[in-house]
């Protein structure tokens, strides 16, 4: 069922704002992870500006939905989304990565709205699982005696990041514990730091692996808001299994001249800055 056109438009607007602000953030820090920040931007926008239950004025509300960005180097669009949502002043952007900054090179819990101090890849999904289990403790029960989780947990995982064995430890345990309030969104942009994922460490076929572990698995275009929202809503409906949304994305999506190049961690020259801002007008 199609979503309200105005909602889709709003999310597209938000996604553009957070991409533009991410460019500003990277400029302030001189370098950043533009590729992976941009590939996940639409997913982040859909979560932060529609699907998740959260309150920027109350970042520690007990029953808030949690967003855990396990690929925490892609922090710039996360910071931009939190700034745009009102978790902190956009004044903080210019201090990114500098001495004494709250906005460190990888997201940390000291930032209002950030649940997880990342940087060490492969660990965030386990943290997300812990939060998901916590949501079920002391929760009211439904008519069949199952706990109704007090909140949902959304975890963005990288495809390169999925090389780490611990990701699969969490995948295995989430299935075992039927953590149906846990949604993993795989930002499947087909690149990792030093090359394509197929060149570096071929893990194809992708969706099959999550299905094999017993997860409720969907594959979508990670830049199509209609598809993103539908997948997230389906995840709410399916009970008894954790949910994997394999989002096919483009690294650096949003600046056509940057797309399909492996702009992983890069210095943002004045030329690149101008190019990006022109594309994101």
């Amino acid at each position: 069922m199609a979503h309200d056109k105005k909602l889709i438009q709003k999310l597209a607007e938000k996604a553009k704002i957070i991409r533009r602000d991410a460019v500003e953030i990277i400029k302030a820090g001189d370098s950043g992870w533009i590729g992976g920040s941009f590939s996940q931007a639409d997913i982040i926008a859909a979560l932060m500006f529609h699907h998740m239950k959260h309150d920027p004025k109350n970042p520690h509300a007990e029953d808030r939905d949690r967003l855990i960005v396990s690929k925490a180097h892609c922090c710039e669009t996360v910071y931009a989304a939190l700034g745009e949502a009102g978790y902190f002043s956009k004044e903080l952007y210019k201090s990114y990565g500098k001495m004494g900054a709250t906005l460190q090179a990888h997201t940390e819990r000291i930032v209002p709205g950030v649940e997880y101090s990342g940087g060490s890849l492969g660990e965030g999904l386990s943290f997300a699982l812990g939060e998901a289990l916590a949501a079920r403790i002391d929760a009211p029960k439904d008519s069949s005696g199952r706990p109704k989780p007090r909140y949902r947990v959304f975890c963005v995982v990288g495809d390169g990041e999925s090389n780490e064995g611990q990701v699969w430890e969490a995948v295995m345990a989430a299935f075992h514990y039927k953590a149906d309030n846990l949604v993993a969104i795989i930002d499947h942009n087909k690149f990792q730091s030093s090359g394509t994922i197929e060149e570096r460490m071929n893990m194809m076929p992708w969706a099959d692996k999550w299905k094999a572990f017993g997860w409720d698995t969907a594959e979508i275009d990670g830049h199509d808001f209609e598809a993103i929202l539908t997948a997230l809503e389906n995840a709410d409906k399916v009970k008894g299994k954790p949910h994997a949304i394999i989002a096919h994305t483009t690294k650096c999506k949003g600046v056509p001249s940057f797309e399909h190049k492996n702009l992983h961690f890069c210095r943002l020259s004045d030329e690149m800055y101008a190019e990006a801002m022109a594309a994101l007008k």
Binding site: F127, G130, A134, Q166, A173
Partner: protein, 321 residues
């Protein structure tokens, strides 16, 4: 010379893990936030109780120590008080980054129980006996490290770490050990316990080696060497004051641990003594080697950490004064 809260003769033999579980059962009656996590590990009395009465607060993640530690961190993020249980060698070894990055970095309220700690887990042999434990853990910021010596102190330590807000690693050895303390002995996290008074030398012990250290003190007393004995149950934050006092007042220190002499209790004490009150320090511990199978007394002889080795170390330290 021996403080009145030190049992004479020593009390019943009991495994510290059993004492830990008895305390956890008692704590669980007052604290509804405790969550027990296991890496395919024996449940113990508390685990069995939770399985019956609090099934939503007990989880086993299987043989997956990294996931064990980080899932615990997530539970702490969700407002609960997790205690993780797996072999020390695999917590410290396989989940070192997770302890450091997911727990200590953000000072999350996770208690990491280092089961089968140290080098005296008799049958299991070199892959399971851990030499690097104290050195590796004490160098992580924000992480409290505790190492009780007997069943009575294990209970007090367990209760104290549950009340402390912040990351804690708890060493619990496998073998049954003698009860050393009276139930009401003076205990405070971060404060070394004095078991005997003496001015000729100080033995500083941590963990299950305490009863061997006591034996050495008795042997030396008969030779006219009066030894102060300190139980350093809290390795981090270590009781610097007690160490400096011992160096200044007794002039010779011997450290005792079932852990490497590189970087463990001996290293910590040597750092403080050299910086504040230089005095001879002899480290009794594992001399940079891997472990092996054997009975506890055989292993103590093999590793040269038995009571007679401790006594000899004291004699040598005193000579260097």
């Amino acid at each position: 010379m021996k403080r009145d809260y030190v049992l004479e003769p020593l009390g019943e033999m009991k495994a510290m893990y059993q004492a830990y579980h008895e305390e956890m059962v008692a704590l669980s009656r007052k604290n509804g936030k405790i969550v027990l996590l296991y890496g395919d590990f024996p449940r113990g009395a508390a685990g069995e109780l939770f399985q019956k009465e609090h099934p939503d607060r007990i989880y086993d993640v299987g043989i997956a120590e990294a996931n064990l530690i980080t899932t615990a961190a997530g539970l702490a993020g969700g407002g609960y008080l997790p205690f993780t249980h797996c072999h020390s060698i695999f917590a410290v070894g396989r989940a070192y980054n997770q302890i450091r990055q997911n727990v200590a970095f953000d000072k999350l309220n996770v208690k990491i129980v280092l089961c089968n700690s140290g080098m005296l887990w008799s049958f299991m042999g070199g892959s399971h006996q851990i030499i690097e434990e104290i050195a590796a853990m004490r160098v992580i910021p924000n992480l409290m490290l505790v190492s009780p010596a007997d069943p009575v102190s294990t209970k007090k330590v367990t209760r104290a770490i549950a009340e402390h807000v912040g990351p804690v690693a708890l060493r619990i050895s496998n073998p049954a050990v003698p009860t050393v303390y009276r139930d009401d002995f003076p205990f405070k996290l971060g404060e070394a316990v004095t078991l005997t008074d003496g001015g000729d030398a100080t033995i500083i012990s941590t963990g299950m080696m305490l009863s061997d250290a006591l034996e050495a003190v008795d042997t030396l007393a008969k030779e006219g060497i009066k030894v102060r004995l300190l139980d350093m149950h809290t390795l981090k934050p270590i009781d610097e004051g007690a160490i400096i006092k011992a160096a200044k007042e007794t002039g010779a220190i011997v450290t005792v641990e079932d852990s490497s002499i590189i970087g463990g209790l001996g290293g910590a004490v040597a750092e403080i003594v050299a910086e504040n009150a230089p005095a001879p320090v002899k480290r009794v511990g594992i001399k940079d080697r891997f472990g092996q199978s054997g009975t506890v007394p055989e292993l103590k002889e093999e590793y040269e950490i038995s009571a007679r080795h401790i006594a000899q170390a004291v004699r040598e330290a005193v000579k260097k004064k």
